[in-house]
Amino acid sequence: MSRTARMRYMTSTFIAAAFLAAPGISQAETTLTFVWHAGTCADALVEIAKDYPDKSVKIVPALVPYGPEWHNKIASEFAIKGDAFDFAMWDSQSTAEFAGGGHAVRINDIFATSNYLKPEIFPAASLSRYGEYPDGSGEFYGLPANQDAYGLMYRKDLFEDPKEKRAFKDKYGYELAVPQTYQQAKDIAAFFTRPEKGLYGWGQMGGREYDFATTASNSFLWSFGGELYNPKTYEVKGYLDSPASIDGVQAYVDMFKFGPPGSGNWGFDEVNAAFQQGQLAMAMQWFYFNGSNADPKVNKFADRTAFGVLPGAVGRDKLFRRQFSVGGQGMGINKYSKKLPELTKFMEWYFQPEQQARYAKVCQTGLKAVLESPQWQGLNSYNRQFSVALQYLNDYWHLPEYPVLLDQLQEEISNAVSGAKTVKQALSDAAEKHERTLKRAGYEIKRGDSVPDVPDQLISPVGVKDIAAVD
């Protein structure tokens, strides 16, 4: 090719490339973009949004894989103060990080000016859980988008089988029923662990990734009266590695004996898969997945699956506590978005009972009107248990340093699960790392007097004398 021909070719290629590089024809309509992880809830939101009466506004999903990428996408955009998305659903634990960094719009301002959006339309606990930062301040930075809680699923055919019931009563001396304490759960799990038949008693997560292991281990830890830290003094040593905490995490690690081999690094997906194959008698799993676990097309044992509330435990101080992990996401607004008026109008429509009732068919709404309606409880086989579970929720640290603390705790719990460290060593190392992290972040740790063996007594006591059974 001659030189001139080549130059002409190159020029036209560059012009073509520049033309191709144009992001697309801009339309007269406004787009509201949101970030969420892919799933039925995001599908539901988009589906409902299609019926938004204002046709000049289009809701566009920008979906990411579940896991760290979800957090990274949102965080990265906030870090550059960009407006690539207008609102986002993030895990409840991330509220402190994003609100603390000043990247989320203060919803109180919207509550003040909107006619419909008011704090009262959401249950106080839900609003606080998914949007309040700092704790107890009354400042909200998110609205409940999808509520979730950790729950129990079990094979009711095994529990209701008369032969099994008799054998269990003979062996353990009490009736076979949904466990109310982790001690009972252990007995039942041992009873149902029959590797030769491919059945195991208990399935739980132990994975290193994201929050898998600690979601489960925390549920044990709190129920035994342990605490992650002292929110007022920022002490971790003495709390995270207290005797009560060690009891809880030890109970958690011991339960892996009743799970299939290799279950030590399971995430929620493996728990689902094992249960759907009929390998598990009981499993700890998010309520979020109950929809598909009740679906015969997905779960071979759907008609024999029942859902319940996770057990509690009797701690070393003889008190009974029932606490487990909260899940779900809040909807936060990007402070750097330029479309707040349009977004507010959309939210006023989206949080109407009509829309939220549609949403509740596939996901968990946070709107009081729907949650208190008579139809809600009967929508499926687990909403009743879900509303009971909401009273026993506890959460990770509501601090901007949450991702660091989470990763450090995940690492140590994973060490305990794999047997690389004893539970005591793992928790004590974790406490050490946490305090170092908090110090580097500028928190002052006010070392108090001695901490009780059961720190829950000090923080926000929930222990009761008798086992409060739920069904």
Binding site: V35, A38, A84, A273, A274, Q276, Q277
Partner: protein, 290 residues
């Protein structure tokens, strides 16, 4: 050594090497086959033990990728064809540009010695050494400032930047295999250096260009880290789009397997088209080909 004993050892060696080759082929293609089979399984069948080889095909994975059939209302498949277009444009343009620039730079570094040549070559190589995650935030900021965020041009620049090092070094390697005499004879005969380059040397390194183009296309097509952070909707590429595979049942394995199969097809097509050039290696024209 007697001829029969020599050929006996030869035969044994040949069978041994053939066996090794067979083992490698199994290792190489087995998982691909497994991916293909798995992409047609329903979620229940995926986890059955022993693994099923005979089962009723289930297309839900592919339906999720394209947003059709059972996944008609899936929000994650929204815009999948736009993503496909983006991927094709970004990868093709990025590859073409990277190969073009790398060929030029590789040629010059092969033929001439100039001050700073070694530094230039090393600098070009060093652009490949940095893990993208370390600098993603800075790129994000830079692109946002320049208006390149969520644009195809931005991604094309990333594709070029990521692959020029590879292209330059590989092309230089191939140019080094062409004797300098070729140009010298041409120049002595009255042709320009440029003519020699275009009409004599370039055709000899077609294999190198094909190999480089193949690699660059693969890297550009599968590029994930930059694409996932720098784009949100308009310029999203296909790998980012269909990797968002987590849904109501947990990890959507069927969707991931189907996505893997779908994503590999354009690359396979590209490689198939250039296969003859890939296997040309370096020829010396008059010296005969194998």
């Amino acid at each position: 050594m007697s001829r029969s004993r020599q050929s006996g050892i030869d035969l044994a060696a040949r069978w041994f090497f053939l066996a090794l080759l067979a083992v490698y082929t199994l290792y190489n293609l087995g998982p691909i086959l497994w991916l293909l089979i798995s992409s047609f399984k329903s979620r229940m069948d995926l986890f059955s033990m022993p693994p099923k080889l005979i089962f009723t095909p289930d297309f839900s994975g592919y339906e999720s990728v394209f947003g059709i059939g059972s996944a008609k209302n899936s929000a994650s498949a929204y815009g999948v064809f736009d993503a496909l277009t983006n991927s094709v444009i970004v990868s093709t343009a990025g590859t073409a540009l990277a190969v073009f620039l790398g060929t030029l730079a590789g040629y010059v570094c092969s033929r001439f010695n100039f001050i700073g040549k070694g530094d230039f070559m090393f600098f070009v190589l060093s652009t490949r050494m940095l893990p993208p995650v370390a600098v993603l935030v800075f790129y994000h900021l830079m692109f946002a400032e320049l208006g390149l965020a969520d644009t195809r041009l931005g991604l094309i620049l990333v594709a070029v930047f990521a692959n020029i090092g590879l292209a330059t070094w590989i092309m230089k390697g191939f140019f080094d295999g062409v004797p300098k005499e070729v140009e010298q004879i041409a120049i002595v005969s009255g042709y320009t250096r440029m003519y020699a380059f275009l009409h004599l040397v370039l055709p000899m390194v077609k294999g190198g260009i094909a190999a480089t183009a193949g690699f660059c296309f693969i890297f550009a097509w599968n590029e994930f880290a930059f694409a996932s952070i720098l784009t949100t909707t308009a310029a999203k590429t296909l790998p980012v789009k269909i990797s968002a595979a987590s849904g109501a049942t947990g990890i959507e394995w069927t969707q991931i397997c189907a996505a893997g199969v779908v994503l590999i097809i354009p690359v396979l097509v590209f490689f198939y088209l250039i296969r003859k050039h890939l296997l040309m290696g370096m020829t010396f024209g008059v010296l005969g080909r194998r």
